[in-house]
Amino acid sequence: MLLIKNGRVLDPAAKTDAALDVLLDGERISKIGANLSAPGAEVFDAKGLIVAPGFIDLHCHLREPGQEMSETIETGTQSAARGGFTAVCCMPNTQPVNDNASVTRSIVERAAVAGAVRVWPIGAASLGSRGEALAEISAMKGAGIVAVSDDGKPVATARLMRQVMDYCNTLGLPVIDHCEDPSLFAGGVMREGPQSLRLGLQGIPAQSESICVGRDVEIALLTGARLHIAHMSTFGSLEYVRSAKKMKLRVTCEVTPHHFTLTDEDVRYDSRYKMNPPLASRSDRDALIAGLADGSIDAIATDHAPHHAASKDVEFDRAPFGITGFETALALGLSELVHPGKLPLMRLVELFTTGPARVLGMERKIAADEPADLTIFSTDREWTYRAADSPSKSRNTPFDGRAFRGAPMATVVAGRIAFRR
């Protein structure tokens, strides 16, 4: 038994914001109430800290199987635990691609042995994510996938997207799309704009993303299926999602911490500023923050994308896209959104908990008999992020050395403390 005492419980599901104790019994929450006592239970003193439902990351890359030089399920989930995440959804662009039940099972089994937090795999939408035939989606669902995506690239054609959505609708799975138009993307390496012109780097127009979001919203209208837009970065995309929500379509979206923090003006010849979608314009960034505040955006997801040092220490245009993100996500949310008054704390917690849970068709709350997954964090703890101290195998983050106010303090997964600061 684990008794979490003296904390401030923030539960967006029940709109709870109160000084309460939480008693965990094994893998379940046993009781929640004021001044609980449990003789013999281990006590965690959460005085001055927030006790929230366990954070869910809808979007990460654990690189196993196949790219273990950059990350493994073990190191990636340790990093996730340090970031306060109790469950992470890993994208299928591994080697081999997670497009069949045996790969899904191997991830689930490896996570059961070595995972510091829960791992919920996302299966490929098409075989090999090649954009031709459908992957073995039903079998993968049986093995434990929570969604499908051809992440790293968009579902190749409108016709294929229609088939995937129709099929997943029957299976009750959301379809997650990495939205970009390949012909507009055209070998670009950063957002097109004054900064890409200055640096002489091939630009990717914002419309590369929003055109594809528009296509997907149209197919969602056609099929009525659940559509989730991954790592959304532009105002235009957000407007398509808003219009879809207005039509009561089951369309959701996520935004990454780096897209609500940085802009294309921050880009320099340093591959830690290279990710896809690229850092957007200031006006797009501000639009995303407005969307996070007004409820148009459903979740914050990290798109944790580890790449080993040698692969990133190259010319900007030759470096792979992606940055790590687990350990700085909450701190960026607090420092960039909550402390400056752009977002209430409860809303930030929602974006890490009930928001992503709803995308997956789940609930997330602190109540008796619920899974004993909790994220305990400080809103005031001052600290500096040191990528060198990360359990992740990769260090590719622009936030190395950044000072933060607010930090994860403990991550409780299935009743045991997976991380404690």
Partner: protein, 323 residues
């Protein structure tokens, strides 16, 4: 000069004083090119690594000759024969070169920012000989020297840059350099190669997509090559380009009568420029090439020679001795 240079990565971060100093330092080297004995001992014992990761003829020969005329030895790396073909990374390649103890490295690379990337990781001076679609600072400096010579000064002219600006590192370096001297720049070419946002690159930059309007009142016209090798987008038919944007004798008459015509080369005659203009009296094309040697000698002398800014100029001694 206000601040000694440790590298030459671009013109954007050079001050007006630094640029004027380099042009002044190049002046005696310019005269030196006409001297019968074109060899100084100034950099004797020094070695310059010439690392060209992208093919080039004129810039490579110009840097190699500049180093030779200063008395330096060169070690050359060429993309076609380099270990990059065997999968070695840029950083490993330049660290290997550095281990042979050159005193400076000249880099040409297809990736924008590659010289800066290298400069952050090596101890020796790095000279950018053209990086991707970012900068080509020695070209802009030699253009400035040519303008100053032919027009008597560099300041306050109206200069039109004509062609594929989007993919041009020469244009970027010239825009940054010239606007520091109060030059008003008009960028002109087909709209897909001359985006409006270029006006935000520097003050006094104007975009025009109509060649006649862009040439009106120009004191200098810089013609750029259409960089087919850098264009990812669907391209324009050559006849369309010629009809819309080629600098022809008739179009040149729209500029000021004494307008100077420059081209960084290599020239594709009959495409971006008519032969009659390229070879005409207003053309400064061949002077640009000679001035390139003077500029590169000045930069190698300054960055690798390590002489104080007020030291006696090496070429002046030679020129005086032969008088």
């Amino acid at each position: 000069m206000s601040q000694r240079l440790s590298h030459l990565l671009g013109t954007e971060n050079l001050s007006r004083e630094q640029i004027a100093f380099i042009l002044d330092q190049a002046k005696p080297f310019q005269e030196f090119q006409r001297h019968p004995l074109k060899k100084l001992a100034t950099l004797r014992g020094k070695t310059v690594a010439i690392a060209f990761f992208e093919s080039s003829t004129r810039t490579r020969i110009s840097f190699t000759t500049a180093a030779a005329r200063l008395g330096a030895d060169t070690m050359a790396l060429q993309a076609e024969t380099s270990s990059l073909k065997k999968g070695e990374s840029l950083i490993d390649t330049v660290r290997t070169l550095e281990a042979m103890r050159p005193d400076g490295i000249v880099i040409r690379h297809a990736s924008s920012g590659a010289p800066e990337f290298v400069a952050q990781r090596l101890e020796i001076p790095v000279l950018n000989a053209g990086d991707g679609t970012h900068e080509h600072p020695t070209q802009a400096l030699l253009d400035a020297l040519t303008i100053r010579d032919r027009k008597g000064k560099l300041e306050d002219w109206n200069i039109t840059i004509l062609g594929d600006i989007l993919h041009s590192r020469v244009a970027r370096s010239n825009i940054h350099l010239l606007t520091k001297f109060g030059v008003k720049i008009t960028l002109c070419g087909p709209a897909m190669w001359v985006p409006r946002e270029l006006e935000r690159l520097a003050p006094n930059v104007r975009v025009s997509h109509r060649v006649e309007e862009s040439l009106d009142g120009a004191d200098v016209v810089m013609v750029l090559r259409v960089q087919t090798e850098r264009i990812h987008e669907p391209s324009l038919a050559p006849d369309e380009y010629i009809a819309g944007y080629q600098l022809s004798p008739a179009r040149l008459r729209l500029a000021r009568p004494d307008a100077l015509v420059l081209h960084p080369g290599p020239i594709v005659r009959g495409l971006e420029i008519d032969s009659a203009v390229a070879d005409g009296p207003q053309s400064g094309v061949l002077e640009q090439v000679t001035n390139g040697l003077a500029i590169r000698m000045a930069l190698l002398y300054h960055l690798i020679g390590g002489a104080a800014a007020d030291a006696p100029h090496p070429a002046k001694d030679r020129l005086n001795a032969s008088d």
